[in-house]
Each structure stands twice: as C-alpha cells, then as structure tokens.
C-alpha cells in the first residue's frame, strides 16, 4: 500500500503541477523543456482519474499516510518519508509567492468537509513539485517529483547554477542528518515536532542549503556591498598601502577616535545577532550580510505565509475537534478505573480536580474549559497531549525528572477507551505544567 500510495500521490502531484506549469508563465524556473513535459502529461494523465477520486475521498488510506508524510509528524510512530516532507516544507520558500497565494485561494475554494487536509497537503505537494518539475525535465525519474528520498532532492539542483558535486552531497547528507532527529521509536512524532531549532532546522539547512541555489546570483552585488562597508577604523589601521606615512596610524585592532569605536561596537553587535540568526534560518551558509538578510526576509515571509495557509486549512479539522470534545463530555466519569490507577501517582488534588471537571463537562463544556483555564490546565486530545508534553519535556536537562512518561503511557493506554480520556488529558497536561512550572 505504501508503494501504491506513493505512485498515486506522485502521479496526481506531477500532473497537477504540470498543469500549473502550463498556465503559469513566469520566472526563470519555468518550463525549460516543453517536449519532455508532453511525455510527462501522457504518462501522468493516465493515472490521473484514480488519483483525483482518491483525493476527494477522505477515507482513503492514501490521505492519512500522505498527510502524515507531508507534515512529517507521525504520531503513530511509523516512519514517513522523511526528507520529502522536510523539503516540502522548505520547498514552499522558494516557490514564487504568487503561486503560493494562488494555491492558497484554490485551497480555500475547494474546502469540503474532511477535504481540508488532503487538499492542504495536495497544495503543498503541488507547490513543491511545481518547483521541482522543470528540473525533472532533465532527469527522467518520473515519479512525480521523486517521492523517494533520493529522488526528490537532487532534482532541484539542476535548476540552479549549482555544481555537479551537489547531487552527491544532497543524497547523502539528508539521510544522515535527518535520521538523527527521527531516531527514537515511539514518541518521535512529537519529538521531531518540537525538536526545536537545533536538529531539524539544521538538517533542513543542510538539505536545502544546496538545492535551493537561486539562479539569480547574489554573489556579485552582495559581496561588493558587504565588503564595501569597510570599517573606517580598520581601513585606517589596516595593512594596506597607506598614502601618507606621516599620520599616526592606529595599530590593528585599535581605534583612535570615538566614532570608530562606536562604529566597531555597533558592527560587532550586529555580527553577533547575524550569527544567531544564521542558526535559525535554514540555508544560512551565505557569508555576506546582504544575502543573509535576503534569506532572513524570505524566511520570515515564508513563515507568515505558512501560518496563513495553515489557518485556512484548519477549517475542516477544527470541526473534527467538536465531536472529540463532545464525546468526552458525554462519556462522563464512567469507567475511570484505569485512569485512577495511573493518577494515583499524582496528587490527590488532581483526582479531585478531575472529578470536578468531568462533572462540569457533563453540563457545559465551556465552563469546564474555563475552570481548567483558571487552574492553568488545558483539555486536549490524547495524541496532541502526548505529542506536546513529550516534546516539551524531552529536551529538558537531566536534572528534571521526566514525569510525563508514566502519565503518557497511561494516557496512551487509556486512549482506546473513550471513557477516561479527560482524566488522562488532565494528568498529562498538569504533569507537563508541573515540570515547566519550576522553570517559570
């Protein structure tokens, strides 16, 4: 099924992006080899109808696995196609923003009940593959933009002016770098979610660092601009050929006038911050300030765009929260033996709270939530709670006792029995709150 889903997804995505490539006529990243695209169309369009029907059907297994793959977060512990979603997330960056907004509007138009997440990920795939498709013309790996790990990443390389050495690097590094965040077996879904800016961003950095070579060369103008900001102090004290030897020259590293001191201080501070930014922004291997700033700007725009897109695609999903919550409230306090056994490890006040909340939930969900809010707790689905708490507590230093694991296992165990999800969610969340409370 894995293989079949890939093909279907690849076929749909490539044909969709091929269609887009036809209609859209801008950028140098566009169609470079129309002839090959025709071959593509024939190939992909044959698989198209089945793919589209699959797309419309929210229950097809293709959707869930594809959506998981795309967003790289698989709470069930399966290992999705790691590099592709990562590249897909980053792939949004350098797709032109017009296309992104066009797809975003398309997405909002095609909102159906339950159709939100497939269309969301379809859009992401389209964007990603649209970016990749022109490069696919060169290599005949017609798997719709290369679903496999090795297939995806080398393709965009042919876009830029990047050298032939890059494909090698791309194929090898992502495997290693991306395997690291995804090592742990079970809670890796949440872990890689909140793996923060160290692991996955660096992995993405390495992965995208090579293959998002812009065809436009920043090098010339930016380098001159960066260098041209030659500090006055070091210019005067540098080892260059000084025109006048009578003037007192400051020694290297020292400045004579307060202007340059302040200037140097300011520059040092800016350099410090740029370094901090370099770690945050992927593809930050640029050495000159101007192109680094460009990267930063692009990245901020990209993130804001992602927030926008995610909020649009959340619409169908939010409706699914309601039955979940309602389900919890209707069940009430019945059959909470399992949760009580687990909650015995915590305070008694916690179980008292749980009782009260459960009772309140029977009458009015809103007031129950407000009550929880007052206590600094929150009710959430089990999967989400385990994801967040395991991610939040995992990177903590060794000094902290990781309280969540016993709670999460009980939560996981109770996940199947809808009778006590409320108690488990409370337990998990308050445990997480307890561990983070001392740090506040």
């Amino acid at each position: 099924m894995q293989h079949g889903s890939r093909e279907v997804r690849g076929g749909m995505a490539a044909s969709a992006s091929a269609q887009m490539a036809l209609h859209d006529d801008h950028g140098s990243q566009q169609i470079q080899n129309p002839g090959l695209h025709d071959d593509f169309f024939d190939q992909m369009l044959s698989g198209l109808p089945s793919a589209w029907t699959d797309l419309g059907n929210p229950k097809s297994p293709w959707d869930a696995s594809a959506a998981q793959k795309l967003f790289r977060i698989d709470l069930a512990g399966k290992q999705p196609d790691e590099s592709q979603p990562e590249a897909a997330a980053e792939g949004l960056r350098y797709a032109s923003y017009e296309e992104a907004t066009m797809l975003a509007s398309r997405l909002s138009q095609s909102q159906g009940s339950g159709g939100s997440s497939p269309t969301g990920e379809a859009m992401m795939l389209q964007l990603n593959n649209h970016h990749i498709l022109p490069a696919v013309g060169r290599s005949q790996t017609a798997v719709g933009g290369g679903v496999g790990e090795s297939g995806l990443l080398p393709l965009p390389l042919t876009l830029g002016s990047g050298g032939a050495a890059d494909p090698r690097i791309i194929v090898e590094t992502p495997r290693d770098e991306m395997d690291r965040p995804y090592k742990s077996p079970d809670h890796n879904g949440g872990e890689e979610l909140y793996n923060g800016l160290g692991g996955s961003i660096r992995a993405a950095q390495a992965a995208t660092g090579q293959h998002f070579h812009h065809p436009q060369s920043y090098g010339g103008a930016a380098a001159s601009a960066g260098v041209g900001q030659g500090p006055a102090a070091s210019a005067s004290s540098g080892g260059g050929t000084p025109p006048q030897k009578q003037k007192v020259r400051a020694r290297r590293g020292q400045a004579t006038d307060p202007h340059s001191i302040a200037e140097r201080l300011r520059r040092e501070r800016i350099a410090e911050r740029m370094k901090a930014l370099q770690e945050l922004v992927p593809n930050a291997n640029k050495t000159d300030k101007a192109s680094m700033l460009d990267e930063i700007i692009d990245y901020v725009k990209f993130l804001q765009l992602q927030v926008k897109v995610l909020s649009m695609s959340r619409l169908g999903g939010a409706a699914a929260v309601a039955p979940l919550v309602a389900d919890i409230s209707t069940e009430g306090p019945g059959g909470r033996a399992g949760a009580n056994g687990a909650a015995a490890g915590n305070n008694d006040s916690l179980t008292v709270t749980e009782h009260r909340v459960a009772k309140m939930m029977e009458e009015d969900m809103g007031s129950a939530m407000q009550y929880l809010q007052g206590k600094g707790l929150c009710l959430m689905p089990i999967s989400l709670a385990s994801a967040i708490s395991s991610a939040a507590c995992r990177p903590s230093a060794g000094g902290l006792v990781p309280a969540p694991p016993p709670a999460t296992t009980s939560a996981a165990a109770a996940a199947e029995s809808p009778s006590s999800p409320s108690a488990s969610a409370l337990t998990v969340q308050s445990a997480a709150a307890d561990t983070t409370a001392p740090k506040r």
Partner: protein, 149 residues
Amino acid sequence: MESKSSTTGNRDNPNRNLHGSKTMMASHFLRALFRIQQTSTSSSSAGRSRRIRRAAYASMAYSAGTRRAWSRALLRKLRSRARLRFPRRLSRAATPQRRDMDQAQVLRKLVPGGPSMDDCKLLEETADYIRFLTTQVRLMQTVMDSVSS
C-alpha cells in the same frame, strides 16, 4: 518563564529554551481554537480562517510576554482590533540596487514593531520572532495532523 531574557545563556542550547513557552503557546492556541469553533460554526470560512490566524499570532504574543518589542507591538495591534495585515511582496523582481537599500526597511515591515527599531535591535527581534513563528507553525501542523488522522 524560561530564560529567554539572557542571550548569553541561550548560546549553547539549540532549543533556545523555548519549551517552557511552547506549552503555554499550545494551551492558549488550543483554547482559542476551541472558542472559535464554538462560536462560529456557521460563519464564513474566510472569517473563520482570519480568526484562526489571529489566534495563532495572539498565542505567539502571549507566550512571548511583554519582554519583547515585537510581542508588545503585536499585542497592541491585536487589542486595537485592527485587521492583521502583513505586507507580502508578490513579485520578486527587485533589482539588486533596490534590494540593498531596502533590506532593513523590508524587514521592518515584516516584523511587528519594526519601524521603531534600530538595526541592531531589529536583528535581535527578528531572531526571536522567527523562533516563535517556527514554534507556532509546528504547533499548528501538529494540531492539524492530530485532528485529521
């Protein structure tokens, strides 16, 4: 709250000590989502997505607190009920010369509270803003994933 105040303490920790605010962001955002879903079941999808987007930025700003200029500016903007507007330059046809001169300007437009900062502070705020943005984006992805699976 976590030690987000001292930059020196953050250098060795790749996580930048965000995970204390992560749970706060998550709980705030989920509560907001729940409220939105309760109150606007029949309203337009555009209005709903706007509200969700607002909730995302609100939870970012709340968990960042008032210690940061960008979060203060964001909170101000949210409280004044102004429409959340973000400049999006749709065409990347900037000439190199223009690009160089405008970079700081462009960044100031993107980061909330930007116009009233000098370059140094702008970079610092941008870094923090990016941190919180990435956290928020991942949070939203998780939520969407968990409700759709």
